[in-house]
């Protein structure tokens, strides 16, 4: 159960990070560079959290 929870959450976070990159691109278009860089940080951090959860899910499998 824990394994599936981690896997689902990891997938959600990794795909969800795409939304932050989308917003980052839109703020770049509006020349709001500070917001764009902050959203880039958010996107990379979220993808990193997803990767950590995927790692935990992998260990749970074994």
């Amino acid at each position: 159960m824990r394994k599936y929870f981690f896997e689902g959450l990891a997938l959600l976070l990794i795909l969800g990070s795409l939304g932050f990159f989308f917003e980052c691109v839109h703020y770049l278009g509006k020349r709001d560079y500070v917001a764009a860089i902050l959203l880039l940080f958010v996107g990379v951090s979220v993808i990193h959290v997803g990767a950590e959860l995927a790692r935990l899910a992998l260990v749970e499998r074994d």
Partner: protein, 257 residues
């Protein structure tokens, strides 16, 4: 080499001859050096002919996989951006990209066939026993397919947001005015570089380690197992959560100003 030759000529028509004809029709070539245009336009055909006639695989690959594609995009790269944007419809770019892809696949397949012919027929051919695929391998295949899907989905979605989104184009137009096309090109390059960094860090590096049975990776997995027995993630997880939350709060505060 008949198929690569046909696809190469097709690509030349789509990416060089057609835009050149449209530019001539729109009188966008006024003042340009006719000799230079002729040389730049015919250079890809020369590279194609050299590549097709080459016997050595290395020379053929250099001419067809490097020289020809570079020379094909050279005329449009050398032309003024405004002229290209005004004369060539955006659909033609998609057609040219598809033609280039088909050409590269055809050349790669032709080279593989030539290599097999050079090696000669195998001494004996025997069917492998068709045992059912073990669940471990089915699981691995699912992971590999998932990685392939992510490798396509992420850059495609980001490039679509930059190059096909009308709202993003409108934002660029209002922010940069006449420089909007250049800003869009810069954003496309930035998105491509971002994806290369993410792909390398989060897909290729772990996959490479996994495929090579890397000792460092095995040691890291053992450390992860020990961590998992405690039921707590690594400190990097908490750091990433903190950075994400802090950056989100900063965005909200910055937008609220």
């Amino acid at each position: 080499m008949a198929l690569p030759l046909a696809l190469g000529i097709n690509l030349w028509i789509v990416a060089v001859a057609l835009p050149l004809g449209l530019a001539a029709h729109a009188r966008a070539l006024a003042g340009a050096n006719i000799l230079a245009i002729t040389v730049v336009s015919l250079a890809p055909l020369v590279a194609l002919a050299v590549g097709v006639s080459q016997k050595r695989a290395a020379g053929q690959a250099l001419a067809l996989l490097v020289g020809f594609p570079v020379l094909i995009v050279a005329p449009q790269a050398l032309a003024a951006a405004e002229v290209t944007a005004r004369v060539v419809p955006s659909v033609a770019m998609v057609l040219a990209a598809a033609s280039l892809l088909a050409f590269l696949v055809a050349v790669a397949q032709a080279q593989t066939r030539a290599e097999r012919l050079a090696e000669g027929p195998p001494a004996a051919v025997r069917r492998l026993a068709q045992d059912p695929v073990p669940s471990r391998w089915r699981r691995r295949l699912r992971v590999y397919r998932g990685l392939a899907a992510v490798a396509v989905l992420f850059p495609a979605a980001l490039l679509a947001a930059v190059d096909l989104s009308p709202s993003f184009a409108a934002s660029l137009e209002s922010s940069f005015g006449a420089q909007a096309a250049r800003a869009q090109a810069l954003a496309t390059v930035g998105v491509g570089l971002l994806w290369i960094v993410l792909l390398r860090a989060y897909v290729l590096q772990p996959l490479h380690g996994h495929l090579q049975h890397d000792r460092d990776l095995l040691a890291a997995m053992e450390a992860d197992r020990r961590h998992a027995r405690h039921g707590r993630p690594r400190p990097a997880f908490y750091l990433a959560v903190f950075v994400a939350l802090a950056a989100m709060v900063a965005v909200v505060l910055q937008r609220a100003k």
